[in-house]
């Protein structure tokens, strides 16, 4: 188990001080030995908290994404009450342990280096825009002097190079890292930790707890549980659900499906899954073909931005529409 971190809006990070130090090129401690910022407590945590929601059990490799312990934790977290000020919902969080970050306290505006996985989907776009707005606020209040951003365009190797560049050349006071994948980015995040500067990891996790702060959503299992239970409530045993998944191999998405698949099988619902690449054309073809095979009682999606295409496929097929379960939909009509 890892002791876990908390969460701080990256804003706060900049308020932390830097410890300096330049890392050497070959700092490749194994996760077990990496000793790093062990700081407790701190800042305002956001939703999330406990532990490796995202990571598969052993060394990042897992052919089976289902993890009962994490599943149970997330099952509980779905109904947990938020802590923190209800008037500031963006700062609320679920029972994450606090880390003391007072050792990083310092004066003056600091430079933040942000290594981003990509801005290649609407969710990341929205986050990127929000972040820049928050940056303006923090710059005006003199907390952050500047934020240098490198975008890896969804390539693990590029992001590793980006982080190394920040360590060597960035003159950074703090690192903010949104990893593009879980296991592959672990060594690079450890190198960032070894500089002694505060490191904030958010969204997808890494397999080290060296980071000062880790902010992550409740996790894929909770998502899968909520969406699958909605369908189970609306369907009967023996009904058929088509599951539309974006792509294989991304931990959060695999967890969503792992949880949903478990719930479907427990409730006697037949589920067939497809990969769509989020392409509405594919979605529509898949639903049409499924309707040609036989009736479909429900649709489950691991992200909502193709929902319109799925619904339209039912219309085109002359069927009444069916329960469709997904979250984070960006349906704009």
């Amino acid at each position: 188990m890892r002791r876990k971190m908390l969460t701080a809006p990256l804003a706060a990070v900049a308020a932390l001080a830097m410890l300096a130090a330049c890392s050497t090129d070959d700092s490749l401690d194994d996760p077990a030995t990496s000793e790093s910022a062990e700081d407790p407590a701190g800042e305002e945590p956001a939703e999330g908290g406990e532990d490796e929601g995202e990571e598969p059990a052993e060394d990042g490799s897992s052919d089976d994404w289902f993890d009962q312990a994490v599943y149970d934790t997330q099952y509980e977290q779905r109904t947990a009450t938020f802590e923190g000020d209800p008037n500031a919902p963006h700062l609320q969080y679920i029972d994450g342990p606090m880390t003391d970050t007072s050792e990083f306290a310092s004066e003056g505006a600091k430079k933040v280096c942000f290594s981003n996985a990509s801005i290649s989907n609407p969710w990341r776009q929205t986050g990127w825009i929000t972040m820049n707005e928050q940056l303006k606020v923090l710059q005006e209040s003199g907390v952050i002097s500047e934020m240098e951003t490198r975008d890896a365009q969804d390539d693990d190797n590029t992001q590793i190079a980006d982080i190394d560049y920040f360590i060597n050349e960035g003159n950074c006071d703090a690192f903010v890292i949104s990893p593009s994948s879980t296991a592959a980015l672990t060594p690079a995040v450890e190198r960032a930790c070894d500089t002694g500067l505060p490191v904030v990891v958010f969204d997808r996790g890494v397999e080290t707890d060296c980071a000062t702060t880790f902010i992550h959503p409740i996790g894929g299992f909770a998502w899968g549980i909520d969406t699958a239970e909605f369908l189970v409530d609306n369907l009967e045993e023996g009904d058929k659900v088509v599951a539309l998944r974006i792509l294989p191999g991304v931990d959060v998405l695999e967890h969503r499906w792992a949880a949903a698949e478990k719930i479907f099988s427990e409730n006697g619902i037949e589920a067939v899954d497809y990969f769509t690449g989020a392409d509405p054309t594919e979605i529509k073809k898949i639903i049409s073909d499924e309707l040609a095979k036989g009736d479909v009682q429900g649709v489950w999606m691991d992200a909502g931005d193709g929902a319109v295409a799925a619904i339209e496929a039912f219309e085109a097929g002359g069927r009444r529409s069916r329960p469709l379960s997904s979250l984070e939909a960006e349906i704009d009509r």
């Binding site: 776009q125 899954d273 497809y274 509405p280 529509k284 073909d289 095979k293 193709g306 339209e312 704009d332």
Partner: protein, 389 residues
């Protein structure tokens, strides 16, 4: 046959092609790669219907044709470029660009449909023009040119739209891809995309029978000879690129209607289109193949995917099956071209003694005659016969 008979006039290949009863000619045609794809389509269709009888109903079939229309149209566009000996890798980006443009610019305002569609056509022509001119006048390999435009276009579109394409165009515009003529007996509905496909296919066949089409195949088969025969190869090829981009534009318009706006629409379309063209027996490198075979290749590909789906093959294996199929299809087609066409392939060699041949190309002749118009250079004749089989 051509060895001794010098009295047979200049296009024995053409005559051989015209010999025999219509049935014999049909059989011969189906033996070529360009014809075999239609048999493949038939076999796959039978297999799909066997796996799922519902699919065989006229209503289902016409819907299938409707939804396959955009890729078939894209394949026909890609055909023009490939048969002229080039590649168009920018097709997918053009589809994405048009999808995003229609989403962002048309919005819910019906009065904008026409001007925006004109803009999309203009942009399609522009992209094709850039691809074509960079390939022909700047002499950059088309693979590289269109790779460059692919990167540049998709980057530009994502940059200008902030990466998140939103907004669905107004329903009346989307009807082009979603709607159809309703209450038709037997099939219930004839989707507009199917009608567009048929119209474009007829247009493409007519175009390939015109001098332009013959010159295009000639340009792919032997650019030097075509050039020396007086045809403006650069402009012939540039028009092929424009046709390809316009086909991608039409595919984009249909896809917006069919499925809506998303930046992933069109991703990988260039490789799917090339695969379809190649499945249709069209030879990479140019000079050989029939435009309808390219469209049939698209149907074969979609039928294959549908079959795999109905057979319950895990969707992750789909790529593997596709890979095996295209290698086998091209290997078989290559064998067939070489084996089945051997007699005809000898004809150009024989006619090489005649004025219109590649051999004659060293001494430019008939400078005034519009090259594509005549059967002058042998390659066009050869191409024409393959083009019509």
């Amino acid at each position: 046959m051509s060895t001794g008979t010098t009295t047979v006039d200049r296009a024995p290949g053409l005559l051989a092609e015209r010999q025999g009863s219509p049935l014999q000619r049909l059989a011969r045609t189906l033996g070529t790669p360009g014809g075999a794809v239609f048999i493949l389509c038939g076999v796959l269709l039978a297999a799909v219907v066997a796996a799922n009888p519902n699919f065989g109903e006229p209503g289902s079939l016409i819907r299938f044709i409707g939804r396959t229309a955009p890729i078939a149209i894209a394949a026909m566009g890609q055909y023009f470029v490939i048969v002229s000996g080039e590649f168009d890798l920018s097709m997918g980006s053009v589809v994405t660009m048009q999808v995003v443009i229609s989403g962002n610019l048309i919005g819910q305002d019906e009065s904008r449909i026409l001007p925006v569609m004109l803009l999309m056509v203009a942009l399609g022509i522009l992209v094709g023009l850039v691809n074509g001119l960079a390939t022909t006048l700047l002499r950059v390999p088309s693979f590289i040119v269109t790779l460059g435009t692919m990167l540049a276009l998709s980057g530009l579109v994502l940059y200008l739209t902030g990466g998140a394409a939103t907004g669905n165009p107004v329903d009346s515009f989307r009807q082009i891809g979603r709607g159809g003529i309703r209450d038709v007996p037997v099939v219930d509905i004839i989707p507009y995309p199917a009608i567009i496909l048929v119209a474009l296919a007829v247009g493409a066949v007519l175009l390939m029978r015109r001098p332009y089409g013959r010159t295009l195949i000639a340009a792919g088969d032997n650019p030097e000879a075509t050039h020396l025969a007086g045809a403006p190869v650069w402009w012939v090829k540039t028009r092929a690129f424009i046709l390809s981009s316009l086909a991608a534009t039409v595919a984009g318009i249909i896809l917006v209607g069919y499925a809506g706006v998303h930046p992933s629409v069109g991703r990988g379309y260039e490789f799917t289109a090339i695969t379809a063209v190649v499945l249709g027996g069209v030879v990479l490198g140019g000079g050989r193949g029939w435009v309808l075979s390219a469209a049939a290749g698209a149907f074969a590909l979609e039928l294959l995917f549908t079959l795999l789906n109905f057979l319950g093959v895990a969707s992750t294996w789909r790529d593997t099956v596709q890979g095996v199929i295209i290698i086998l299809a091209v290997a078989a087609a290559g064998k067939a071209w070489r084996a089945g066409l051997r007699p005809r392939r000898r004809d150009p060699a024989t006619t090489a003694q005649s004025p219109g041949s590649p051999a004659g190309a060293t001494t430019p002749h008939t400078p005034g005659s519009p090259a594509g118009e005549t059967t002058g250079p042998t390659p066009p004749v050869q191409g024409t016969t393959t083009g019509e089989n």
